[in-house]
């Protein structure tokens, strides 16, 4: 609970920096309405999500009501309005993956990470979501872990992947001390 509060406060403190950084990204970009989606994609590329301050800056830049920016941000799957976790897990729910047990894989991730699709773990290590189809149907069921496509990702493999992350984290902590 306390860690969540600290994270919230960190976000609030960062607001003026977000404004500045956004202005930097917008400099040199055309302020046509048609650029809205590429602009939001760039902003999410930098921040990992679409901060409120950034969206307001974009609205000002394009001279459109901020609700229009929010409409686009909430319409598309790609955009997220909350900060991501350190590692992203995307479970493919395409047809081929589904018949090879995609929903079982998703349930396995949910069980281990204790979060549902669209959520981030309380320690901000992982965020989980589904993706419609990655296009690797021959390797079903597929999970994309930090942009790496993991084929044949059944529950046993899920445990294997999480174990390797845990070992990696422990190694990093040892090296710090």
């Amino acid at each position: 609970m306390l860690s969540l509060l600290l994270v919230e406060m960190k976000i609030i403190k960062e607001e003026p920096k977000i404004k500045e950084k956004t202005r930097g990204i917008l400099e040199g970009l055309g302020n046509r309405r048609a650029n809205l989606i590429p602009i939001l994609q760039q902003i999410q590329g930098v921040f990992g999500y679409l901060p409120q301050q950034a969206m307001l800056e974009v609205a000002r830049f394009l001279n459109i009501p901020e609700i229009d920016v929010y409409s686009v941000a909430t319409f598309y799957n790609q955009f997220r309005l909350t900060p991501p976790g350190k590692h992203s897990i995307r479970v493919c729910m395409g047809t081929a993956c589904h018949v090879k047990g995609g929903h079982i894989t998703l349930a396995a991730w949910q069980r281990r990470l204790k979060i549902g699709p669209g959520e981030t773990s309380p320690d901000r290590e992982f965020d989980l979501d589904t993706v419609a189809c990655v296009g690797c149907c021959a390797m079903a069921p597929v999970s994309v872990v930090d942009k790496k496509v993991e084929g044949k990702a059944d529950p046993t493999r899920v445990d294997g992947i999480l174990l390797s992350y845990q070992l990696q984290k422990e190694k990093e902590e040892k090296e710090k001390n």
């Binding site: 309405r33 048609a34 955009f79 047809t95 396995a108 189809c133 021959a138 059944d154 445990d159």
Partner: protein
């Protein structure tokens, strides 16, 4: 430089690779290959070559079509045919290089097939599937490096563009119209007619958009072409732009395809360098540029007006038509929107002529179709067959039949807008119209084969779930109707369905199909309508008996370990159970599943050694015999930790 000079230079460079002066190694690094570990194989190749100080050429290629055998590597040793190896891993590839390239043993046990026909190794043309396949769109995939424009040019690329610029735009439109090319994005509208309408519509500038959104889950044809041969699409776009008089082009690629985005962007830059794009293309009066637009994740953006709305910076919400997009499209100007495959066909039609195209296919659907074969079939991957090939030939001869010796149940064609066809439909020739008559749809080419272990009600529910999440929400019938249908299907798959639900489902499906605003809504009920039409008994069993005959609907099944088959000493299931729901029965020393804890993840069934095969699924769950369970904590849970289950 004039085109002839460019071509000669590219061809001579291509000859230098293949003149058998030194070995050549090709690695398939499209997304499928990467998922299977192709990048690690590539690294191993580079390391081995360095270690052995071997002089050879290595380059990455795209999808070869045999996705079931990824990672794929082709080795070409001077004096031998090019040999393709499948299921390659870093250790194997090192051995292959040492044994074959440095010595003379081609390691036949790992060979998938030779590329060229020869006397001692079976080539791909000996495979049963090559009797049916005709790779036109996929010709270059797996042969050339998609990041080298010169490879494309050496193999005939951009020749059609040079030819086009010597012809009049009306002649190009006429040729495409004459070929009867129909859009390969799903609707199958005659491309030439659309172009003609756009050509004659007023408004400047005109736009040409390539639809690479490919939102169908289970479809990866457009991705493969964009990753493996992006220039074929670019060339098609320039020709189309010339024909309709467009000044600007867009390639719309979904952001979920990062490799395709990168390859297309790279291809656009190279085409600009070679003056195939931008001002005064190849010295002519025609100027045309292409911008890449990344879709931000919405299946509905595959719909033309929604796609256009997203390029305009708005939510991807379709609008009513008329006015037609060819008359009033992007920014209100005449616009042509074609699927990537349709555009990739254009250079071939210009090169070989409309008559060549008319020779292939059926009466009403000419040319070939590209399918992404997936699901329970042996040879999953990309195949290209002439229109008119039957489903049976495609699934059994090209696809190699059902995997694991299972029985064929249905084939799902056309993604969430398509339908499921049963065994009785297997002799239907693949063709836009015949598929539509049967209740399915060609769609953009996704084809998923289903076997006896797939529940058709669950498949319908799955597709409705997808369409429901992807509906834009504008029109009442789709937004609310698909939700109602989904809720009914969820109830049926959970054993809460009623017989009158089937009537409601049918009526609702028909009304949504007829009354929705856009193509998404009008085709969303297709999976429901086809499964109700061909698999009604399955629905009824779910409702009347709360039983799932395919043993797939999780609420209606239970996992059970057969006591007689369970090997006492084995702990395979206990160790792998993801929720520690399996314990050992004290008296009988067999393993027992705690039904309260079981999450039906299937891991125990997969883990149980094949000689025992003790784990089975039962439906309905009350079929599980009551156990006189006197369990003790399994050794893995540690001594003295108390009762094994709670």
């Amino acid at each position: 430089m004039k085109f002839e000079e460019i071509r000669k230079l590219a061809q001579s460079r291509w000859q230098e690779i293949w003149n058998d002066q030194m070995p050549v190694i090709l690695v398939g690094t499209a997304t499928c290959g990467r998922a299977a570990g192709a990048l690690e194989v590539l690294q191993a190749i580079k390391d081995t070559v360095k270690k052995q100080s071997l002089s050879c050429l290595i380059y990455e290629v795209g999808c070869m079509g045999h996705c079931y055998a990824e990672p794929l590597v082709i080795l070409r040793k001077p004096g031998y045919p090019s040999i393709c190896y499948g299921h390659v891993n870093p250790v194997l590839v090192e051995n292959l290089i040492n044994n074959f390239l440095l010595n003379d043993d081609p390691c036949l046990e790992f060979v998938l097939g030779a590329i060229e026909e020869n006397d001692f190794i079976p080539s791909f043309s000996d495979f049963p599937r090559s009797k049916y396949e005709k790779r036109i769109l996929l010709k270059n995939c797996g042969q050339i490096n998609p990041e080298e424009i010169e490879h494309y040019i050496a193999n005939g690329g951009y020749e059609s563009l040079a030819k086009t610029l010597r012809m009049k735009p009306e002649e190009i439109v006429s040729e495409v119209k004459g070929s009867k090319l129909r859009g390969l994005g799903g609707a199958g509208f005659p491309a030439g007619e659309k172009w003609d309408l756009c050509r004659h519509s007023e408004g400047k500038p005109k736009y040409l958009i390539c639809n690479g959104d490919e939102g169908d889950p289970g479809a990866f044809m457009d991705r493969a072409i964009l990753e493996s041969d992006p220039h074929s699409v670019i060339e098609g776009m320039v020709i189309a732009g010339y024909a309709i008089g467009a000044r600007h082009g867009y390639i719309y690629v979904r952001a979920e395809y990062p490799l395709a985005v990168q390859r297309v962007q790279n291809a656009i830059h190279q085409a600009e360098e070679y003056k195939f794009l931008e001002e005064n293309i190849l010295g002519s009066n025609f100027s045309f540029d292409i911008k890449l637009f990344q879709g931000s994740g919405a299946f509905v953006c595959g719909e033309a007006t929604a796609l256009i709305a997203s390029i305009e910076g708005k939510p991807g919400i379709p609008r009513h038509r008329p006015p037609r997009v060819a008359v009033q499209g992007l920014f209100g100007k005449p616009t042509i929107l074609n699927n990537a495959k349709t555009l990739a066909y254009v250079p071939h039609i210009i090169k070989n002529g409309a008559d060549w195209f008319l020779q292939m296919g059926t009466e009403r659907s000419k040319g070939t179709a590209v399918f992404a074969l997936a699901g329970k079939v042996v040879n999953t991957g990309l195949v290209e067959v002439p229109m008119g090939t039957t489903l049976r030939q495609l699934i059994f001869d090209v696809g190699g039949g059902l995997s694991k010796g299972k029985r064929f149940k249905a084939v799902q064609i056309g993604g969430p807008s398509g339908g499921c066809l049963p065994e009785s439909a297997l002799d239907i020739p693949i063709d836009f119209d015949s598929l539509q008559e049967s209740g399915a749809m060609m769609g953009s080419g996704g084809m998923v084969v289903l076997d006896e272990d797939d529940c058709m009600v669950e498949v319908a529910r799955y597709f409705l779930d997808f369409t429901q999440k992807e509906s834009c929400g504008k029109c009442t019938l789709c937004r609310l109707g698909t939700k109602q249908m989904l809720d009914i299907l969820e109830d049926i798959t959970k054993g809460r369905g009623k017989m009158e639900d089937l009537e409601t489902l049918q009526e609702l499906a028909e009304d949504i199909k007829q009354g929705s605003l856009c193509g998404l809504g009008r085709t969303a009920p297709n999976p429901v309508l086809t499964t109700l039409r061909y698999f009604r008994e399955e629905y009824e069993v779910h409702i009347k008996e709360a039983r799932c005959p395919a043993l797939m609907c999780q609420t209606l099944i239970a996992y059970y370990i057969i006591p007689e088959k369970c090997a006492r000493g084995c702990d395979a299931c206990v160790g792998t159970c993801t929720v520690e729901a399996i314990s050992t029965d004290k008296k009988r020393r067999i393993k027992v599943i705690d039904q309260e804890k079981c999450v039906k993840c299937n891991t125990c069934l997969a883990a149980c050694p094949p000689q025992y095969d003790a784990v089975i699924k039962l439906s309905p769950p009350d079929k599980v015999p009551p156990s006189k369970n006197t369990s003790i904590p399994s050794p893995l849970m540690g001594e003295g930790e108390g009762g094994g289950e709670k």
